[in-house]
C-alpha cells in the first residue's frame, strides 16, 4: 500500500518536473516537419498593422530546400515587386532590381519594416539554428527552452510552447542575449493545406519594442516541391520569378 501511494505521488508530481524522458530535440524536429515539408513552395501575405489600424501589406512567394536554404520573392506591393531575398544558413542577401546586385543583409534588419525581421521572414528550421536546452511538460503543451547555436542567430533564446497533440507551436517568445523579450509569435488557425500539410495558417507577432504595433503572416498554397541547389544562389536571385508555375 505504501509503495502504491509513493508511486501515485510520483505520477502526480511528474508534470511539474522537467521532462527527462522526453526528447526535446525530437519534438523540435517534429515541429519543424509539421510546420513545413523540408522542401516546399508557398505564398504568404505579411501585414503590418499600426496602432491606428492602418495596414501595409506584402505578398511573398517563397521556396525552401533542406534545413537552411530559402528564397523569398516579393509579388506585391508594386514598390517592392521583384525584390528577392536569399538565405543560406546564417548568410542573407537582398536583391533590389533597381540596384541590380545582391547585398548582404543581417537577420535583425527587416526588409518589410514592422515587427517581423529578416530572420522571421526567411525562417529556416528551428532545429538548424537552436539546441534544446530544457524541456518541460505543462497541461496540454510542451515547453521547449531553445538556445541559439551561434552568435549569428537573430534570437539568443526561445521559449516555445508546443501543442502536445499535434506537435505544432502555439506561442514562441524570442529573447535577446541580455534576457530582454524582443517579440512574441502566436500561431493560429490550423488549416489543412493538402498533401498531408496541416499547420497554422496565421502567425501573429507583437513586440514590447513596437508598442501597439502588430504584424501578421497569412500562409497559402504550401506545397511540397523539390528544387535544384542552383536556385539558392546569388546569381539566380534575379530569376526567381521563373520558378513560379
Amino acid at each position: 500500500m505504501k509503495k502504491l501511494t509513493t508511486l501515485l505521488l510520483c505520477l502526480l508530481a511528474l508534470p511539474a518536473l522537467p521532462v527527462a524522458a522526453l526528447d526535446g530535440t525530437q519534438i523540435l524536429q517534429k515541429v519543424d516537419r509539421n510546420l513545413e515539408p523540408e522542401s516546399y513552395e508557398m505564398l504568404r501575405k505579411l501585414i503590418n498593422v499600426e496602432p491606428d489600424g492602418k495596414k501595409k501589406e506584402f505578398v511573398l512567394y517563397s521556396v525552401k530546400k533542406g534545413r537552411d536554404k530559402i528564397v523569398a520573392l516579393f509579388l506585391a506591393p508594386s514598390s517592392d515587386k521583384g525584390r528577392a531575398t536569399l538565405r543560406l544558413g546564417d548568410n542573407m542577401w537582398l536583391y533590389i532590381p533597381e540596384v541590380g546586385k545582391p547585398m548582404r543583409i543581417t537577420s535583425l534588419q527587416s526588409v518589410t519594416g514592422g515587427v517581423f525581421n529578416n530572420a522571421d521572414i526567411l525562417r529556416v528550421d528551428y532545429a538548424a539554428e537552436y539546441n534544446v536546452e530544457a524541456t518541460a511538460e505543462e497541461k496540454d503543451q510542451y515547453l521547449l527552452i531553445l538556445k541559439a547555436k551561434t552568435a549569428e542567430v537573430a534570437y539568443d533564446k526561445l521559449k516555445m510552447w508546443v501543442d502536445k497533440k499535434v506537435l505544432l507551436p502555439v506561442t514562441i517568445e524570442c529573447y535577446a542575449a541580455s534576457g530582454m523579450l524582443i517579440k512574441t509569435l502566436r500561431f493560429k488557425d490550423i488549416k489543412d493545406f493538402g498533401g498531408g500539410i496541416k499547420r497554422p495558417a496565421t502567425l501573429e507577432t507583437d513586440s514590447p519594442l513596437y508598442k501597439d504595433y502588430k504584424s501578421v503572416m497569412l500562409y497559402s498554397q504550401i506545397k511540397k516541391r523539390e528544387f535544384p541547389d542552383e536556385v539558392f544562389s546569388l546569381n539566380y536571385l534575379p530569376r526567381v520569378e521563373g520558378l513560379r508555375k
Binding site: S78, G82, G100, Y213
Partner: protein, 432 residues
C-alpha cells in the same frame, strides 16, 4: 418594442465589427497567379532648388558666358517602365527610362532603354542573356572599383537605376556541400563600334570580361577581369561577409594595367601619363541595438587626380575666365570644359574618400519613416558634402523623400569648387 429596437441597434453595431474581424486578415492567393506578361514601374516628380556657388570653378566654367540667377529651380519628371514576357525557357526583359527636365536656363529630355534583352534559361545552372544589360559587379555601397563593365555609380544616389551595355553574357551556377557552397561563372562579350556601346571605349573591339564567384566559408568572393580591348586590361577581387547578426564587412581591390591618366596644366597643356593603377575600397555596415544602420567606406581611387593636378585645373579655369574677360576669347575655357567632361567633373574624381551614412529606422515609433545623414569627404583636401534626408514609405506604392545637400570646402578644394553650394530636393515616386 423598445427592446427590439435596442436589439436591432446592437445587431447593426455588431455586424460591421464582425465583418471587419472576419475580413481583417484575408488572403486571396488567386490574385497573384503568374501571368506570361508583366508590366510595372514608377512615375516620379522631383522639384529641386540649387543655390549656385559663384566662386566655384565649375560654376565659372558652365556659366561664364551667360547671366544666371542666384538659384536654379529644376523640375524633373521620370517614367520608368519595366516589362517582361515569358514563354517557355525564353523571356524578353525591358526597362525603359523617359525623363523630362526643365530649369530656369534650359530643358532636357532623355528617352532610352536602360535594359532590353532576351534571356534563355536552359536549366537552373545555365542562362544566356543577349541584349542591353546592366550588370553590377562589386560589393561596395558607394563605389565599385571592380565594376569593369558598368556605368559608374552616383555615390549621392546609389540606388539610382543605371543604363546598361549591349552584350552577350552567360551564367553558370554550381552548388556544393561543404565549405565551398556556391561557384558561379559569368563570361561575357561586349562589342564596341559606331552603332553600339560607343561610350565604353575605343571602337572596333569585341571586349571579353568575366566574373568568377565563390561562396566559401560564408564569405562572398568575386574575381573580376576585363581583357585588353576598348579599355586597358584590368582585374580585381572583392569580398563580403557577415561577422555577426548586425555586422557586415566588405572590400574591393582592382588593378588597372597601362591606364592613361590625362591631366591638364594651368595653360591648357594636356599631359598624359601611362602606368598601372590600383583602386581599393574597404567598408562595413553595422546595425546598432537602437536600429541605426551605419555604413562606412574608405575608397582609394587609383586613377584619380592628385591634389596638385586638381589645382592646375582650377587655375586653368581662372586663367580662362581672365582671358575671356580681357580678350573675349574662350579658347582656354573650352580646353577646361573638354578636360572637365573627360574626367574632372566626374563624381569623386580625386584620390581618397570616406563615405559615412547613418540611418535610423522608424524613430519615435513612426513606422516606414527613415531619416538619414550622409557624409562624403575628400580626405586629401578635407572638403565634404553633407546630406540629411527624410524618407517616408508608409503609403502603399508611394515613396516621399526630402533631401538637402551642403557642399563645403575652401578655395581649390573638390567640394568647394563645385557648381552648387547647396541643394534642396523633394522626390515623390508612385509605383504601379
Amino acid at each position: 418594442m423598445k427592446l427590439a429596437w435596442r436589439a436591432t441597434l446592437l445587431t447593426l453595431a455588431w455586424l460591421p465589427a464582425a465583418s471587419v474581424a472576419a475580413e481583417e486578415f484575408s488572403f486571396d492567393a488567386t490574385e497573384f497567379e503568374k501571368q506570361p506578361f508583366e508590366l510595372g514601374g514608377y512615375l516620379e516628380f522631383k522639384p529641386d532648388r540649387a543655390w549656385l556657388n559663384r566662386d566655384g570653378a565649375f560654376y565659372k566654367l558652365n556659366f561664364y558666358n551667360r547671366a544666371t540667377p542666384d538659384t536654379l529651380d529644376r523640375n524633373t519628371g521620370t517614367l520608368k517602365l519595366n516589362g517582361k514576357y515569358t514563354q517557355g525557357i525564353a523571356s524578353i526583359n525591358l526597362r525603359a527610362d523617359v525623363e523630362v527636365r526643365h530649369d530656369n536656363l534650359s530643358s532636357d529630355r532623355i528617352k532610352r532603354f536602360d535594359e532590353a534583352y532576351v534571356s534563355l534559361k536552359f536549366d537552373p545552372g545555365f542562362t544566356l542573356d543577349a541584349g542591353k544589360l546592366a550588370l553590377k559587379w562589386g560589393k561596395g555601397y558607394a563605389w565599385s572599383p571592380v565594376g569593369f563593365v558598368e556605368r559608374p555609380k552616383d555615390p549621392n544616389d546609389v540606388e539610382l537605376a543605371r543604363e546598361g551595355y549591349t552584350m552577350l553574357a552567360a551564367d553558370f551556377i554550381r552548388n556544393f556541400d561543404g565549405d565551398l557552397k556556391t561557384m558561379a561563372f559569368t563570361p561575357l562579350l561586349l562589342p564596341v563600334g559606331s552603332q553600339v556601346n560607343q561610350d565604353f571605349g575605343k571602337s572596333d573591339h569585341v571586349n571579353v570580361a568575366a566574373k568568377l564567384y565563390f561562396l566559401y566559408q560564408d564569405t562572398d568572393i568575386d574575381f573580376t577581369w576585363l581583357g585588353n580591348g576598348s579599355r586597358t586590361p584590368r582585374f580585381g577581387v572583392d569580398f563580403s561577409r557577415n561577422f555577426s547578426s548586425a555586422l557586415e564587412v566588405h572590400g574591393e581591390w582592382a588593378r588597372i594595367r597601362e591606364v592613361e591618366l590625362r591631366s591638364v596644366g594651368p595653360t591648357g597643356v594636356t599631359t598624359t601619363q601611362r602606368g598601372d593603377a590600383t583602386s581599393y575600397l574597404l567598408g562595413l555596415r553595422y546595425l546598432t541595438e537602437q536600429d541605426t544602420t551605419l555604413i562606412a567606406e574608405y575608397y582609394r581611387n587609383g586613377t584619380g587626380y592628385q591634389d596638385a593636378q586638381a589645382q592646375d585645373f582650377y587655375r586653368l579655369v581662372d586663367n580662362g575666365v581672365t582671358q575671356f574677360l580681357t580678350t573675349g576669347s574662350d579658347s582656354m575655357l573650352k580646353k577646361a570644359l573638354s578636360a572637365s567632361q573627360s574626367g574632372y567633373a566626374k563624381p569623386n574624381a580625386m584620390e581618397r574618400y570616406l563615405y559615412l551614412r547613418g540611418s535610423q529606422k522608424e524613430p519615435f515609433d513612426i513606422v516606414y519613416f527613415t531619416p538619414s545623414l550622409t557624409l562624403i569627404t575628400n580626405l586629401d583636401d578635407h572638403s565634404y558634402s553633407l546630406t540629411p534626408e527624410l524618407l517616408y514609405t508608409g503609403i502603399t506604392n508611394l515613396d516621399l523623400r526630402l533631401r538637402a545637400t551642403w557642399l563645403k570646402g575652401g578655395a581649390g578644394s573638390e567640394f568647394g569648387e563645385r557648381q552648387n553650394a547647396r541643394k534642396l530636393e523633394l522626390m515623390m515616386r508612385y509605383y504601379f
